[in-house]
Symmetry: C2
Subunit: 254 residues, 2 copies
């Protein structure tokens, strides 16, 4: 067997940072790849660091060929689980001590993957709901923008209700616009029409009583980057980045 | 042995895209991590794609604990080669068929790494010089903004002269400002002062006859994002992204 990256600090005689080696962060991504790049940039910015060596060792497996999650959940499309499993196993083999999956819909398939690989996952949806509870304690009605697959899986609905919050979801026509906006981001088209497709659905949720909005598909924060709303917009990609930094700890002062 | 990611298309019964499986791209990064995130975003944007599944499978090892490259080249700092070697071996083990290193200075250490792992590397510096020759055929004098380590290694100087081009490098005081600008980007501080530190050195190169500028450290394109010059500025991170896309081929039409 070759030396794992996890051992390298010891092998090469230098710890990773400060007075301890922090866990390697594994990222199971590519769903889509631009969203994974967005997550990685947010992870780097969320890490307190003065020099390169303060940052987290990170291994990213970006597999855009993972079959579409919404199609698998709704219309009998190929099950993405074998792809997610192979990716998570590779991340573990490379030394990842914690795994993040910057794709909301993929969380519907994670229980069996996590059980197989035995490495802790930072759960994007659970962390997002905890974030709302702690940062917006007076909010009760939460507007959910997500894929139709995430909607059908009820991942956010269940997590919100468990924490005493009430989900507000788009009507069918608005949900179609959200999916069209997500598809445009995946095709690299982030323009005013992309923003309108998503923002028009968001405004309907606010009209229906939503006191905050969750941009609950990793393409949506990119679609809404230049749009402002009267209620706070929660970015689960950013929440996940901060939760990963908290999970692996901060570098110690020398 | 577990199934490698490379085999997964076959194992799971679905090719990666179109009528063929393209090579997995390996990225040996973390030098610094923000530059690796910038490279990944540029790689995604440089890939012609309508849907996720058109994109490249990519594995990124971002190791910010790799010892400082300039310190190793100039002042007896720890040799980063063992870290680069372990990272490249992991990328190969995970199935990478081509490797990119989005750090100019690290290229001084790559010959022994490449010889060991036997996977083709896309050479950022060589590609950048070829890019200048093909896109700016009338240019002769090339202004080089880079780390003091890259300067000392003469990587760009040799590649430029081999192609009949003449390097123009900053004086000592200007070079100190370039290094200060790079350190600010690595600390996450990209502001007007960061831009000024680098741009003031760039203007001296133009005054000294440079007909184009190479932002030859992966932090520099980020420092110069909002600055305009009278000569073209070459971004080797972007050149590397385009060269990787060309190296692995494009998806075939269905």
């Amino acid at each position: 067997m070759e030396t794992t990256l996890r051992d390298l600090g010891t092998v090469a005689g230098a710890p990773a940072s400060g007075d301890g080696v922090r866990e390697i962060v594994g990222v199971l991504g590519g769903m889509g790849p631009a969203a994974t790049a967005d997550f990685f940039a947010k992870l780097v910015r969320a890490t307190p660091a003065r020099v390169d060596q303060d940052h987290l060792r990170t291994i990213i497996w970006s597999d855009p060929t993972i079959p579409d999650r919404t199609a698998a959940l709704l219309s009998g499309g190929t099950d993405p689980t074998p792809w997610l499993l192979a990716g998570a196993r590779m991340l573990r083999a490379a030394g990842a001590g914690v795994i993040a999956v910057p794709c909301n819909t993929a969380h519907a398939f994670l229980p069996s993957v996590q059980a197989d690989v035995g490495v802790p996952f930072v759960h994007m949806i659970e962390e997002t709901v905890l974030h709302i509870r702690s940062r917006l304690p007076r909010v009760r009605r939460v507007g959910l923008l997500s894929t139709t697959g995430t909607q059908a899986s009820a991942l956010y609905d269940e997590a919100l209700r468990r924490h005493g919050l009430e989900p507000v979801v788009p009507q069918a026509a608005a949900q179609s616009r959200v999916m069209a906006g997500i598809a445009r981001v995946k095709a690299g088209v982030v323009d005013e029409r992309t923003a309108w497709l998503v923002a028009s659905a968001a405004l309907e949720l606010i009209d229906a009583g939503a006191e905050t909005l969750v941009a609950g598909c990793t393409e949506l924060p990119m679609a809404l980057e230049a749009t402002e709303f009267d209620v706070p917009v929660i970015d689960p990609t950013q929440v996940l980045a901060e939760a990963v930094v908290a999970a692996v700890g901060r570098p110690h002062a020398a």
